[in-house]
């Protein structure tokens, strides 16, 4: 293998990539956009619950006993004000106690309280707020349940350390960069197949293996550099940089293999975009699981990008170490090799 040849090809490919206005400019703008998205997203999580009340017969001091760091009770002077507060998300929920509520409750008569909720509040929350209301009224009536509770946290206790949206988003942005790179590299290869320049390269001393190694290096360098830049700027490398970089390097190889496959299927740049979009959508599915945990089940593990996204998410957001990540990294390594070789074979058949 002649290193000079490979270096010449990598330099040529990177130069051609940035000469292509669509991909060159697109890469820079996309990177800027990802950084913008990250820094615009909230960096903290609002962990407080605000409960609104309209209870004209209640003395104000009633509420003081329920206020805490996590729960704020807001007392409104009119039903309209309460409803508006719920609509404007100032209160998570609104409780309304009629004028004769306390009187009836103490005399043991049946009474009624209303809960005002927003139309899009999930059913579990509705039930939870109903229980909160029942608990409060039990306490007001002096019928508190005679039990104590202890919290036992399994794993890292994230109380007070909830993962901010921007941190949840960071692994997804990293994956997005890699996936966009899939299309860029695939377009580059496809245009070389189409124009016949790959054929010209292969009638020199260059062997097919050298050609694919150079394309692979181009893909990995392009993808890895961009994602590294994103993580350096966003502070994503502060935790276990070695582990993150290993995962990203393997991910870059995987993505390069997928680029080869896309290029082997495509006939021109438009079909690269079409096939590339399909690949991107499939590869992005595990990202949804990071943003909305519990949304998916174990079937998601058949998607190769899962093993990269899972590692990044758990390292970024849960402090996972090498030992826990080993299985995922090994699977990722196997998939990367498989896709890289499969992609090479597919392209070779097309030239």
């Amino acid at each position: 293998m002649n290193i000079r040849m490979i270096f010449a090809l990598v330099r040529k490919d990177i130069s051609l990539y940035f000469k292509n206005k669509f991909f060159g400019l697109g890469t820079i703008l996309a990177l800027a956009a990802y950084l913008g998205i990250f820094f615009l997203m909230p960096k903290t999580v609002n962990e407080k619950i605000s409960l609104g009340f309209y209870a004209p017969s209640f003395p104000d001091t009633v509420w003081d006993q329920y206020n805490s760091e996590e729960v704020t009770l807001l007392h409104y002077s009119s039903l309209e004000a309460l409803k508006q507060a719920v609509t404007d998300d100032k209160a998570s929920v609104g409780f309304v106690f009629p004028d004769d509520f306390l009187q009836k409750m103490y005399s043991g008569e049946q009474t009624n309280a209303q809960i005002y909720i927003k139309s899009d509040l999930p059913d579990e929350y509705r039930q939870a707020y109903t229980l909160v209301l029942e608990e409060i009224t039990q306490q007001l009536a002096g019928h508190s349940l005679n039990i104590t509770t202890n919290e036992v946290v399994i794993g890292t206790d994230m109380a007070g350390m909830q993962i901010p949206p921007r941190n949840r988003m960071l692994p997804n942005l990293a994956i997005l960069i890699l996936m966009v790179e899939t299309m860029g590299l695939a377009a580059l290869i496809s245009s070389e197949v189409e124009s016949g320049t790959l054929r010209a390269l292969l009638v020199t001393r260059l062997r097919p293996a050298g050609l694919f190694i150079s394309k692979g290096i181009t893909g990995v360098v392009m993808a890895f550099t961009q994602v590294l830049l994103l993580l350096v700027i966003t502070g994503g490398l502060q935790q276990k940089p070695g582990l993150i970089m290993t995962a990203l390097l393997l991910g870059s190889i995987l993505i390069t293999g997928i680029s080869f496959l896309v290029a082997s299927l495509a006939r021109d740049v438009m079909s690269v975009i079409a096939w590339g979009m399909i690949a991107m959508i499939v590869l992005a599915i595990p990202s949804f699981n990071v943003m909305l945990p519990g949304l998916t089940t174990d079937w998601i593990k058949i998607i190769p990008s899962y093993y990269l996204i899972d590692v990044l998410n758990k390292v970024f957001n849960y402090g996972m170490g090498w030992q826990t990540a080993t299985t995922n990294l090994l699977v990722l390594l196997g998939l990367s090799i498989l896709f890289f070789i499969g992609g090479m074979v597919a392209i070779r058949r097309k030239i």
Partner: protein, 287 residues
């Protein structure tokens, strides 16, 4: 042959059920220019692809520069220059960048790209993007690229196809220079005049088979008419042609009669063109 650069034996290639090259055998002497002539789809490009290691023969065998091309294509390609039928340059790179890239891939040390561009008539255009070049300029750059490694053998697939006369002549001159340098040249074309001018021998290929292979002179001798054609002024003042066969016993008398009795305007021998011969042999034209 004493020193063949190419030996093809029963060389065969098919695309699915379509047999593109059908058991062809020939040899090309080192330093010789062989013109492979045939219409589109006759199997010319497929033959070049097999001989240059781009396609592995599906039958038969070929040795190029003494190396089995089917088994060791890289050994041949390192010493060969290939000019493709279709322009395949990096259009977004300039001419110098194109040549320097390929010089790296041939591992050529101390490569003088400017001198090579000068040689093909592109001096001073080295820093221009290839996308701004005319078809003729691109083709000259393709030829220059094929010469980077000072090849012992050149495969030129329709190098002047569709070019303006100046560009075509420039490429022909380079071919002749390479022949003088001692390179073996395998030229495919459907331009009869070009093949006639440049080739030591020509091979006619039709439907994947070699229909004839010899020097242009020998082919003309074998298939030409051997006649004199005299243009004379007729009785009504219009030009008329008189044809006199050269090999008859009364040829001399007939020539003498014409000059004695008629007003002769021109006299020329009637030679068959390669195209005439191709049509006679294969029953089809070259277009």
């Amino acid at each position: 042959m004493t020193n063949p650069a190419i030996v093809a034996q029963e060389l065969t290639y098919s695309y699915g059920d379509l047999v593109a090259v059908d058991h062809i055998s020939f040899e090309v002497e080192a330093g010789e220019i062989l013109g492979l002539l045939g219409p589109n789809g006759a199997g010319k490009s497929t033959t070049v692809k097999m001989l240059s290691g781009q396609l592995k023969p599906k039958g038969g065998k070929a040795t190029v520069l003494g190396v089995d091309i089917g088994r060791f294509p890289k050994k041949v390609q390192a010493q060969a220059g290939i000019c493709f039928e279709i322009t395949n340059l990096y259009e977004e790179m300039n001419a110098l960048e194109n040549l320097k890239l390929f010089a790296r891939l041939f591992d050529v040390k101390n490569f003088n790209a400017e001198a090579l561009l000068e040689r093909v008539g592109l001096g001073g255009r080295g820093k221009d993007l290839v996308s701004t070049f005319s078809k003729g300029m691109k083709q000259r750059l393709m030829v220059a690229r094929a010469l980077i490694n000072k090849p012992k053998i050149l495969f030129l697939d329709e190098p002047t196809n569709g070019l303006d006369p100046v560009s075509a002549e420039s490429i022909r001159n380079v071919i002749l220079e390479e022949r003088n340098r001692g390179a073996t040249i395998f030229l495919t074309t459907h331009d009869m005049m070009e093949a006639d001018k440049l080739s030591h021998r020509v091979a006619f290929i039709n439907q994947g088979r070699i229909a004839a292979l010899d020097t242009p002179y020998a082919l003309k001798q074998e298939y030409g008419k051997r006649a004199l054609v005299a243009q004379v002024v007729g009785k009504d003042g219009r030009l008329e042609e008189r044809e006199i066969a050269l090999d008859n016993s009364d040829t001399a008398g007939k020539v003498s009669d014409i000059f004695a009795n008629e007003k002769v305007v021109t006299v020329h021998s009637e030679e068959a063109t390669l195209e005439d011969i191709f049509i006679r042999i294969t029953g089809r034209g070259l277009a």
